[in-house]
Assembly symmetry: C2
Homo-oligomer: 307 residues x 2
């Protein structure tokens, strides 16, 4: 069982409009809404791929109720903790003329100590209840928390002998490293923000100084570089980049890594699966979706190099 934690879950709202013109009034022609947040997408992808997974995290208010209801409707097992304030929403305005989205991200409710402590206690209690061997911590921290809040969740995972993957950015990623999570998965930009270094080797070394162990750096169309603590590193990629929807590709990558850790895969196999699942997610119009048939087909195309 994998536990996918989203401390700052979101209700993702998509508006279709004919054309977005600043400072004008727009008739929205279609409204879709869906539970979102990186850990929610991880759980959704794992569920689609047939892996036992449970989504948890903090939600609250009317938006929190809608997040819960949507996950239930999608058949994603979820046990969220009530975090007080109204969960953040994201509004994605898609223009029929241009195709791409204009996005408005609410910051989410300012979290106070008790709200965070209910997540810490909720995670501890869930791990005592379900036999989760891997915990995934994904996405931004709610506003108002110290940078090292993730370290506390890593510690809870370790107390239950779970292996922990952290997918976070900047200060939240740096703060998590103190507790030595099994695996961190920055992309190139996140790695640079967390370390101040552009060079991959220099930045990875800097991350290790802070407590990182196994490091996987995703490089967009150039695939990924996995640098384990022990043994050889791997560069995995597809022969040609896929065009599609990159939102959620990183979450599918993390889902593959969590499944690999649970199943006892080698790092080489995990690097291959991570590229494959990530690419299959690019082919889906919505984050959190994946087609197992795409995964099977794309797995045969991955190029692996020792690094």
């Amino acid at each position: 069982m994998i536990l996918a934690v989203t401390p700052n879950a979101a209700l993702d709202i998509t508006y279709e409009v004919d054309e977005l013109v600043p400072h004008q009034s727009h008739r929205v022609t279609a409204v879709r809404q869906r539970a979102g947040g990186k850990g929610v997408n991880v759980a959704s992808v794992l569920a689609r791929m047939g892996h036992p997974v449970m989504a948890t995290g903090l939600v609250g208010g009317a938006a929190g109720n809608e997040i819960r209801a949507d996950l239930e409707a999608r058949g994603v097992v979820a046990r969220f903790v009530d975090g007080g304030g109204n969960s953040r929403r994201t509004v994605n305005v898609v223009s029929a003329v241009h195709g791409d989205a204009t996005i408005f991200n609410e910051p989410g409710p300012e979290l106070t100590g008790p709200g965070w402590q209910s997540l810490v206690a909720g995670l501890d209690s869930l791990l005592g209840e379900v036999a989760a061997t891997v915990v995934v911590l994904s996405g931004s921290l709610p506003p108002g928390l110290p940078d090292d809040a993730y370290a506390e969740l890593v510690d809870v995972g370790h107390a239950h002998e779970a292996r922990v993957i952290v997918d976070a950015d900047g200060a939240a990623l740096r703060g998590a490293l103190r507790s030595g999570p099994e695996l961190v998965v920055p992309n190139r930009a996140e790695l640079a923000r967390a370390t101040g270094a552009q060079d991959l080797a220099v930045a990875t070394a800097a991350l290790r100084e802070l407590g990182a162990r196994n490091v996987l750096v995703s490089c967009g169309a150039d695939g990924l570089v996995l640098m384990p603590e022990e043994g050889s590193g791997w560069h995995a990629r597809l022969p040609a980049p896929l065009s599609g929807n990159p939102t959620g590709a990183g979450d599918a990558l993390v889902a593959a890594l969590a499944a690999g850790l649970v199943g006892g895969s080698t790092w080489q196999q995990m690097a291959r699966d991570a590229v494959t699942w990530s690419a299959a997610a690019v082919l889906q119009p919505i984050a959190g979706e994946i087609d197992p048939a795409d995964v099977a087909r794309l797995a045969r195309q991955v190029l692996m190099e020792v690094r």
Copy 2:
């Protein structure tokens, strides 16, 4: 008692962003939300001015619950009918750089016969219960209704011997006229859309052909023209236009007319009050707000001409 009906109530969400750039991702720096819709604003203005009023209409889903909760928090008495689908939201993106808003209006839930019939029955039941002598019907009709749906609500008002004001646009306004509401209040553009005529006298005559009785046409900075069925018409205006927030000015105008009908004011007094309340609303940053001190001050400045 005035009953203010909003068949298509909304949850108005305001996002502050630094600058709106199409096809980019934006961090929302502040989120506000508030019950909205034209009849909700009418009720809110009447409550601020100390007039007994109740808001009603159709709401539904999570957004409907937030509309109810906001009105309760603001002290506006409300008894909404549950209309099934999730109430529409409007997202107003205000840019710190430009100041003005970019607006996204959800269409609202498609309404089926039973949803509408619960509003008709709900209004009938409310009018049996509270001693309302004036009913205000405001704003757009939910999608899926026939153009003459407002006529049915006008009939319910008349069955309880209430006088009915209709503030609607285009086909919904035309459709209401069949039942001969006491007063209709189009602005110049709405009058033109409802009749196809640009000239005020020609358009008003066309509206009367369809069943209109007393007609008030609001003309923005040029004030308003009130043309009663009997007696002289009035042109009322301020000596100079006010700068401010025009959103909700029309609803304050309607609120003044409703208060005048309840209190037995003359048409002349109602025209004066309508200009005054409308101008006072322009001075407020939010639709549905009004300061009685502004009303008292501005009332002395209104210029009245027989027309």
